[in-house]
């Protein structure tokens, strides 16, 4: 069971894997922002090519990325069709009551489609090549400046890493309870909405109780291992920038420059 649970991380050994998670996280966030700089066919082509190269650089099967896009495909198509039928302007090819297909509409629909897809692709590249734990480390690093306004970043980081560490444990626990209740006749998959909601009770109540017990046990163990919660803790896990991150940075810089040059002003 726990195989699905290590997030969507898929182990691999290509260039993208060697990059620092902080760089990847920042690049992903900024990529989503700069995609909106693209505003003509050429700039969209550039964005698409850059995304596909990033996808190819992971050396993972294309199916993984298709799996990333799949859950959102209806949203993408729906938005694109809205653009297609409701954009007014340019040459009108077809008209029926309030619906119209125009050259602007077609262009906009394609742009929206590309925008959605590349954002999903790049986020998938990030999540698939970075362990959840590394993502947590990266978030902690990004939050560090908040220490200045007295945000307890260390504690938030500990909470994040404990939460991540318990995701598989709680999943296993959930399946165990489900099976135990099934063996006593509980039915989780049939009936109407209300019946099903009621069926969840014998699952949720034990799960809550066991989570609280786990929390108590864990806090006892942490305290007896010398955890005081105040400053003065050192860190074993560190992130290091490497030459691969220059590749990340350079790639991103080139993309921005190209977009700035080729977008219409």
């Amino acid at each position: 069971m726990s195989k699905i649970l290590i997030g969507r991380y898929i182990s691999g050994n290509s260039l993208v894997y060697k990059m620092d998670p902080r760089g990847k996280l920042l690049a992903t966030i900024f990529f989503i922002l700069i995609v909106f700089m693209a505003n003509n066919p050429l700039s969209y082509l550039i964005v698409t090519v850059f995304s596909l190269v990033a996808v190819a650089a992971t050396k993972l099967k294309p199916k993984i990325f298709w799996d990333g896009v799949k859950p959102l495909i209806w949203l993408i198509l729906f938005t694109s069709f809205l653009q297609l039928f409701f954009t007014v302007g340019g040459k009108v090819y077809w008209r029926w009551t309030i619906f119209a297909v125009s050259s602007y509409g077609i262009e906009n629909a394609i742009f929206i489609f590309i925008r959605f897809t590349v954002i999903i692709l790049i986020s998938t590249v990030m999540t698939v090549t970075t362990m959840p734990l590394e993502i947590a480390d990266a978030i902690e690093w990004i939050l560090t400046p908040l220490k200045l306004i007295k945000v307890p970043v260390d504690k938030i980081a500990l909470v994040m890493s404990i939460a991540l560490r318990f995701v598989p444990t709680l999943f296993d626990e959930t399946f165990k309870i489900m099976n135990a209740q099934r063996s006593r006749g509980a039915d989780f998959n049939n009936g109407g909405l209300i019946t099903r909601a009621k069926a969840v009770t014998p699952l949720l109540v034990p799960l809550f109780i066991s989570s609280l017990e786990t929390a108590i046990d864990l806090s006892t163990a942490m305290e007896s291992r010398g955890y005081r919660g105040d400053d003065g803790r050192t860190k074993f896990r560190v992130l290091k920038w490497s030459k691969y991150d220059l590749v990340n940075l350079g790639y991103f810089a080139i993309l921005i420059v190209l977009l700035l040059v080729f977008r219409t002003h």
Partner: protein, 283 residues
């Protein structure tokens, strides 16, 4: 010369807030340095409460002439962190004491809390992982480890901080027989290598019979203390408080019931085997 006792407990009582009667009642005992002590007793006899009192997780009832002393340091509000540096505890549930996201992170947790610089941790952590034979699993996540492996990681986490005393709070009770044997072997090795004092709280009478020293608890009282030989010779007393007796004692008693003449002084597995073999050769 007096025996060097690393743990001294005198007149300790403890009452849980939600209960009327004390979980620990006027308890006093001492544990010799470097020994392996098993604490046995049935459920609710106060065994686990002792552990939590020794490392300051619970505070005993106030009493003028009571104290807990570990390695010469009296347990007070100020010294509790020193005491925790000297005492490492492995708890019962292997899942609920694993803090780190990987084996190495978990072993480093205690060192991080003590502010040990990273340059030292890089040396100490692999060393401790190696000591418990988990080197191949350094970067493994807890979800992919067995219960026995998680307990070995917990021991590594304790070894890394170099304590004087290691307490196993029913640390083997949730493991399969093989996992339990490996843990006990590992701890025996640690005891020799680092001159540790081991306190093992257990339900397993056979495990207790391998200790240097056995403490029997009942309803918060100390019933008897001594070598396993002396303690298990009192089979009647143990049965009265609802405890099992080791397998060799069961064999001895069954043979006695069948009017097989086994002398009173045969009180260990080795002696019993020897006696029975000799008996055979005489015929």
């Amino acid at each position: 010369m007096t025996i060097d006792n690393i743990i001294k407990i005198k007149n300790i009582s403890f009452t849980y807030p939600e209960s009327d009667s004390p979980a620990i009642d006027q308890l006093s005992f001492e544990i010799p340095r470097g020994s392996w002590t098993s604490i046995i007793g049935h459920n609710g006899s106060g065994k686990s409460t002792i552990v939590r009192l020794i490392n300051g997780l619970l505070v005993p009832n106030e009493n003028e002439d009571s104290f807990i002393e570990v390695d010469g340091t009296k347990l007070t509000d100020d010294s509790v962190w020193d005491i925790r540096n000297k005492v490492g505890v492995v708890f019962q549930n292997p899942d609920n004491q694993f803090v780190g996201a990987t084996v190495a992170d978990d072993v480093a947790f205690g060192l991080e809390n003590r502010g040990v610089p990273r340059s030292e941790m890089v040396k100490l952590v692999p060393e401790a992982i190696k000591a418990v034979g988990m080197t191949d699993y350094t970067h493994t996540e807890p979800a992919n480890l067995s219960g026995g492996q998680k307990q070995r990681v917990a021991i590594a986490g304790i070894i890394a901080i170099r304590p004087k005393v290691i307490i196993l709070d029913e640390a083997t009770s949730m493991l399969d027989p093989e996992g339990r044997d490996r843990i006990l072997k590992t701890v025996h090795q640690m005891q020799d290598d680092y001159n540790l004092t081991v306190i093992a709280i257990t339900h397993d009478i056979d495990e207790a019979s391998l200790a240097d020293n056995v403490i029997v608890m009942d309803d918060g009282h100390l019933i008897t203390q001594g070598t396993p030989k002396d303690v298990f010779a009192q089979a009647k007393l143990l049965k009265e408080i609802g405890l099992d007796i080791p397998f060799y004692m069961q064999v001895k008693q069954a043979l006695l019931e069948d009017e097989f003449p086994i002398p009173e002084q045969v009180n260990s597995e080795k002696e019993l085997i020897k006696y029975l073999c000799q008996l055979n050769s005489k015929k």
